[in-house]
Subunit: 343 residues, 4 copies
Amino acid sequence: MAQPKNIAILGASGYTGAELVRIIATHPSMKIVAMTADRKAGQTMGSVFPHLAYLDLPLLTKIEEVDFSAIDLAFCALPHGVTHGLVKSLPEHVKVVDLSADFRLRNAADYKKWYGLEHTAMDIQAEAVYGLPEFYRAEIAKARIVANTGCYVATGLLPLIPLLRAGVVDPTDIVIDAKSGVTGAGRSPKEGILFSEVSEGFQAYGVASHRHMGEFDQELSLAAGTDVTVSFTPHLLPQNRGIYSTIYAKGSAEAVLETLQKQFANERFVHVLPMGEVPATRHARGSNMCLIGVKADRTPGRVIIISTLDNLMKGASGQAVQNANLMLGLQEAAGLEFAPMFP
Amino acid sequence: MAQPKNIAILGASGYTGAELVRIIATHPSMKIVAMTADRKAGQTMGSVFPHLAYLDLPLLTKIEEVDFSAIDLAFCALPHGVTHGLVKSLPEHVKVVDLSADFRLRNAADYKKWYGLEHTAMDIQAEAVYGLPEFYRAEIAKARIVANTGCYVATGLLPLIPLLRAGVVDPTDIVIDAKSGVTGAGRSPKEGILFSEVSEGFQAYGVASHRHMGEFDQELSLAAGTDVTVSFTPHLLPQNRGIYSTIYAKGSAEAVLETLQKQFANERFVHVLPMGEVPATRHARGSNMCLIGVKADRTPGRVIIISTLDNLMKGASGQAVQNANLMLGLQEAAGLEFAPMFP
Amino acid sequence: MAQPKNIAILGASGYTGAELVRIIATHPSMKIVAMTADRKAGQTMGSVFPHLAYLDLPLLTKIEEVDFSAIDLAFCALPHGVTHGLVKSLPEHVKVVDLSADFRLRNAADYKKWYGLEHTAMDIQAEAVYGLPEFYRAEIAKARIVANTGCYVATGLLPLIPLLRAGVVDPTDIVIDAKSGVTGAGRSPKEGILFSEVSEGFQAYGVASHRHMGEFDQELSLAAGTDVTVSFTPHLLPQNRGIYSTIYAKGSAEAVLETLQKQFANERFVHVLPMGEVPATRHARGSNMCLIGVKADRTPGRVIIISTLDNLMKGASGQAVQNANLMLGLQEAAGLEFAPMFP
Amino acid sequence: MAQPKNIAILGASGYTGAELVRIIATHPSMKIVAMTADRKAGQTMGSVFPHLAYLDLPLLTKIEEVDFSAIDLAFCALPHGVTHGLVKSLPEHVKVVDLSADFRLRNAADYKKWYGLEHTAMDIQAEAVYGLPEFYRAEIAKARIVANTGCYVATGLLPLIPLLRAGVVDPTDIVIDAKSGVTGAGRSPKEGILFSEVSEGFQAYGVASHRHMGEFDQELSLAAGTDVTVSFTPHLLPQNRGIYSTIYAKGSAEAVLETLQKQFANERFVHVLPMGEVPATRHARGSNMCLIGVKADRTPGRVIIISTLDNLMKGASGQAVQNANLMLGLQEAAGLEFAPMFP
């Protein structure tokens, strides 16, 4: 067997970090050689995430303590804003999959608008590839830096990019009503994500203002060849994993289904259901799959498209490993073959 | 103190029956004198619902065993289809609040279309009043038979009726993305509502085919003065209580908010939040309240309206008691004053 | 109707504070005239707890801003350690129900041992009454300061005090395996009570070291007339409300049941189930009830006693109002009559 | 690579069947060639479990339609009582891992006592091996029929067998307070496992009467060399997966920990934590691991032992695959290497 690739996980103490470890634990060609977590430097990963205590993992360190000379690829799971500078400082030979939002927006003004910060690494942004392998596979394979898509955005783009490219839905009237499990909000303690605040409850947040809208607009406009402004409302679900986007559009359900089936016929991780079948978040839980369903609405000319995935997997760490596999010349599905876990 | 009104609960062994008992347990002017549950006749309510075992309640009986001569009002919590015949057979002096769908649709053809059954009591239908007190208060006060609104429908009608009456939203383009807690599906054992199927998961159901659409169309068309066909998609939430409708419409957010504030300024059970504030299902949990929030969407001319309530309360049994209070000449809010329960 | 009693809630921004408001909202003889929350002074209760926004409540203030001259009774829902000094500083005419642990332990050394602090108000401790009305009713009625029992402790003491007094269980061999909903841990953000950490999971904590053991030992030793050291293990349940104590003891199940039935025959808030029936946390949810079940174990001479209550109600705020009713000469059950909420 | 072993799953439509498929989907040396589900014969596994729809699996058939000539091993996930006759009818060359209780009890009278049925295949029982590989590894490797342990029983036996063998805990005074996730109750619709009955609630069941006690007594008596009758109380947790046994015993915590550490030092699937550390069900979720923690109680001479595992994995299907690996001469951990899933 070939030598495994040496992997660093920068920002390993969050849920996406733990999920990267879960995946790589049985990945046939990756080996974790460095893990960082600034505030938890010196601790074992097992003390931060006891479910991983049985694994033989490097100690958590500060980023500046990492010897990058032997690293093939770094997963960057740090907050946006921090990542710019960091990626700039990494040696050229290190490939990067960035799970933050820092290199997703091609335009500095958009970044400023949605994240409230000046972008300080637009030169690196210029070489970054948008990390949705189903549409940018060839570019990702050659990239040094890949900007992993946002979790909500992944659910929307997977069905909508091919539909807008093919012109089968009206780009001026798209509503995305999206719902996410709580892990999407991270592990930092905040009142709003306490068990007693979230369980037995449901609500919208970021109405008409969520940051993922910039990313939606960018990629959907590219696909449509015209400016697209979606209506996007995220909601918080009382469950750990899963994003579910119910998309209301104008177009023929038959054309929509046919376009999606053709687009994804050979994709390992995107499954288009037969006409009228409705996916559920639990059908993708723990796996790297995105499931898409299509149904005609009652009103002629309207179609409902439903897209679901596990936000920690195809919405974050699974997608990241899929991108890394491409960048490292490995099988695209390596380490990602495991089945969804239900119940 | 005046003599309390004698109440019968027909179909007491479901969740709406238990919720009626919970409310009436501390209602100052109602007394439960008969409770029926055909398959559980002869049992105590406490054996069916142990949380109610401490109350002094009549035994569960079959309907034919009830002496209706002393009954002032019957809550009918039976399945649709069954209720027609039953209500027909009740003595004239018994007022009825029907929680089923049997008397909600004014038109026999609509009933046939959505429920697949011939309506066999259209004469009684003719005198039934649609049970949404905020709009039909005077009629309800005089009615013998009131058809309690459907739970999903209540969340949609409360904001949309005044908006369509006032002409401040476009009746041709309304999307209602609705989410409900599991109690809405009742207590009869079915695989789809088992704990292990529902928890940690989310999905749509009845896409483009849910029965509540007939009721939506009827009432919204009346309000708009023109045929309205909403796009309505229900989803199942992994929680017990709560309906949450995210409504996408065309209109001015300011006009929408102003119309709603004016409409509901003096309503005890409908609360319109300040511009941009977002309600949550947990803010209404266990109470008879409906909370409504309004925010302008990013695209000029689009507005997002959010409406939430507890499906067992304002969506069913709370609404039913509110209607009954009106019908019996009691204070409209009697027995319904308790606060929401959070957490 | 008599003038309602003027109530202050000190430390109103936690879950027990919100629960006090929920109860008093429909209490016939109490009126909230002051509410404090140091870090949230100046805010409305509705901004801290949106489910209470519809109520007409005083603004949150700092404690020093409260005019105590017109206050009849203060509920103190502050952290232990803080409460000593505060209660000392209150005017003599103000009755106090303290929900913290500060006045529960009669002995300064025990307080030091379990809470790690010197007790600075032992003079006040001397006049404080232990707040379990089923056993200290007369003393509570005359008390100025009542120390509300701990939530876990309430589930254990209600069955065990009468059993030890009667000598029907062996005081040297009692195991209390207890489980609590998450609200018992409060509302301050901590990693361990985030939704994603708690949901779909279960674990013990504070094994052989939980602070409530001091309170258990004190009250059970008093009841037994000999030193009692229980084995007590608390666990965290993935649910909001409910404490469930499974108690393993040596004694005759028949004698146990008979003793409990006799003890609680006339108690409004303690219900002893028929032999072999098993209570559930949901049967008490939202109410002030404690439910107790008894069953003989397989091994002759061993008995299993199960006790459950809602930790925010009979385990905290409901108990507090019950105590306050006694102290203020009101009906003991006033404001606490509402039924459990299920589902 | 060697030819994969041909596997049949009999009774594939329950949760343990789905879990077997999840495991075998990435097992390097097993291939599912037949799946049965009498009432769902003719359906695809994907229609019964949509999360498995993407896999290439045989159609569900009736058992009598299976060609057993090419089957190496059958997993039997059928109800107890049914399994006797079935296993009897299988060709001699087919190895069997039985997940039911039918071959666990060595004594026909015990079977009658706990399951209420005559045992009709005691000849086969005589050759069946009790399927706990950590203690019966050599026997399992040679067995034709292995009786997979019960889920509760596995959590108890793993720590208690070595402790009783070594004589470090008192066999006359063992209390096992056990809690299980809902999947342990299966997928057949019953009121008691509906979402609205289980969520936000907790309760004991089968107090002093649960069937697993027969299995406990048998194996613990064998280990102790004297009759052991444990006190065992199961409870239902509002979560899908996980069993958690809090065990109260008399013995030295140090001796207990040392015995367990020695026993399990080289076991891949049993992890003994450092003194005083407490496991959680989520730390084992989705994996084949059992985690064990030990702490001295306050009372000298008493020890608390906590054991947790995923009831569908080490408590059922994971254990079954581990047994099958041994029986088929494969690596014991083959197909079971994946990490726990948290959150």
